[in-house]
Symmetry: C2
Subunit: 352 residues, 2 copies
DNA sequence: ATCGTCTATGCAATCGTTTGCATAGACCGT
DNA sequence: ACGGTCTATGCAAACGATTGCATAGACGAT
């Protein structure tokens, strides 16, 4: 038979089995199979052990190893909503980087309930995860203290905390909104409003701040009614807050939304009022989520690289886990990019 | 101070600590804290142990427990692409059900490389997952044999295998496409084509089959050129195969796509040819993914309940893990639902 | 030849739970 | 009062890997 025999199923092949076959002690096998400790063992023995392990189809039991080393090679990831297409590429990027260093990721869906978050963190800590990635933090979030007390390394992604006490990887939200405002100004808009995100999230607060500052930089001063805040980042909330905004400031010629879904909700509100986008009013989104290039009208938006954010956050967490000096203090701000499509156009001339 | 003291961090509070405080043996604590074995212990002792555990903030160490019981309370989930909005609700549903029975899920992104799948399964088996959920299987997939050999319980979701050797939860793909075909026939279409998915996937094959059978049921016989197969489920592939289809069968008045993304690719191909949808040609999708109600034109599609599928698959896996009789033989077909929007309309009258 | 140094390997304890078996009382019937 | 049955708890051995310490040679220097 030319076909190579498949190694036995890994049912119960332990270090001792390999040790026996290679005629050495189990501890020697343990060392020989660990790249970091291999140098302690004579080359001849290492190869003998390696072939024995290969022949038996040995796979180290990470559970036993974890018990002894008190490290699980597991990291927990908390997202507000797995189904949100912004988070899936983050998760995917994270998983890729972490897997390359032997870590598996447990992803937990927090939902909107803040208490659920503590519960999930506790559960993950009970599983002795080596680190956590949080895409869920609010600006003032007791979870962080909790993690710090338990000495679990944490990286934030997409959203940051106000105390700035933990490393994070986020998109430059102020700058992103600034790009949208500049674009609108450059094509002639003067009355620009903001459909803001929840202010308890850094994205909501930073984008609002970015809006105000960018407006000032263009010599514009937004009035109070020119900003309306959505209760959450979804279409319904966008539609509701959009209606508030349109009522409060009927003369706006453009609205910068804090998020694509809010923008889509707003566009629906506009349709219900028979106001055309962009003919009557221009709209921008934020995130460039999939398919917003095919909605009607195709959305001008700010592209963030969620996958790149995930990759970067993974690298940062690895640095933390390796105890690299300075990792604690790293903060990564990713550069966003404006994508101009058809939901923005020059404002209509006012009838004289 | 009225505030209740927070229990110490769970750093190193073991069974023995609790045992010592409750003045019993560790094994008694172990039993008292396990609902299934609590009845072995006197009620008074149980409560004493419980309060001791609470006061100390004890959390059982699942790693140590896993080592002893050879069960990890982990399940692995393989998806072809986390970022695909069809799979996130599946994952979310699965996670919810499994978490309620104390299982955590490790989600792995397989991507398109078939070899990567075996590798990931091996990795998960090395971590001693108690079960696997595969959303990735091809119709003939060696992975299943591999899992069966290793005696790891498996549930398929969204896609099934041809041998039908493993329980699955899928949408009734044939029926789903049948709904689309019936709808098109009912509004007068006679020349209907199919933009098929990859035939190595059950969804591709079943929907194609469903198309052919539904056509026959309406007295129509699709010609060879009326079906084109996309290489994968994404917009580019949809656009490419759409172009092939439009060239081969220029007189089609409607096209049933196997998937929303294929439909969107097709619509782009139509736009490039200045053919209007639905004025010149009607298009239907499949899955009702988020935002297809807002694209131009809003897509008529077949809604599947991916979250419900995830929930159901989770329940099925739990049954398997509990060794419930008959669980091995369960197959769940979920009922799809047609959602009519604006991408379908009666065919234009042919010029006489 | 002797001693010291170094290196490769073995020894055994340990990580924290679970669980089969042993046992000490309690309780019951006669 | 005695033997038998039960029940609640303790005992100790796993589970499979890692790792500080011990040690047996090898080797070199004097």
């Amino acid at each position: 038979m030319s076909r190579k025999a498949t190694p036995m199923a890994d049912q119960s092949i332990t270090l001792h089995c390999v040790a026996e076959r290679a005629r050495v002690h189990a501890s020697t096998v343990s060392r020989a199979l660990d790249p970091a400790r291999r140098h302690l063992i004579a080359d001849a023995v290492v190869t003998r052990v390696e072939t024995a392990a290969r022949e038996l189809g040995y796979r180290r039991n990470p559970i036993a190893a974890s018990l002894r080393t008190r490290r699980s090679k597991l990291v927990g990831v908390l997202v507000p909503d797995i189904a949100n297409p912004v988070f899936s590429p983050i998760i995917s990027g994270l998983g890729e980087v972490l897997a390359s260093s032997g870590y598996s990721t447990i992803v937990a869906d927090v939902g909107s309930d803040a208490r659920r978050q503590k519960q999930l963190v506790d559960e993950l800590m009970a599983r002795r995860v080596d680190g956590l990635v949080l895409a869920t933090v609010r600006r003032h979030d007791p979870t962080l203290r909790h993690c710090r007390d338990a000495k679990v390394p944490v990286v934030l992604v997409n959203r940051r905390d106000d105390q700035n006490c933990v490393p994070w990887v986020i998109s430059d939200d102020q700058r992103g909104i600034g790009l949208a405002v500049s674009h609108l100004c450059s094509i002639g808009h003067l009355r620009i409003g903001h459909l803001a995100g929840p202010r308890h999230l850094s994205t909501g607060a930073q984008r609002r701040q970015g809006f105000i500052e960018a407006m000032r930089a263009h010599g514009l001063q937004p009035a109070a009614g020119d900003i309306a805040e959505a209760a959450s980042y979804d279409r319904q909330a966008g539609e509701a807050a959009g209606n508030v905004l349109l009522d409060a400031a009927p003369d706006l010629t453009a609205i910068v939304a804090a998020n694509d879904l809010l923008a889509l909700g707003l566009i629906r509100a506009l349709k219900a009022r028979n106001r055309a986008c962009p003919a009557h009013i221009s709209v921008t989104g934020h995130n460039d989520m999939p398919l917003v290039d095919m909605v009607e009208p195709p959305l001008t938006t700010v592209r963030i690289g969620p996958r790149a954010m995930g990759l970067e956050a993974g690298r940062l967490l690895l640095a933390l886990l390796r105890g690299e000096p300075g990792a604690e203090d790293r903060r990564v701000l990713m550069e966003p990019e404006l994508v101009v499509r058809a939901s923005t156009a020059a404002p209509a001339r006012r009838p004289p």
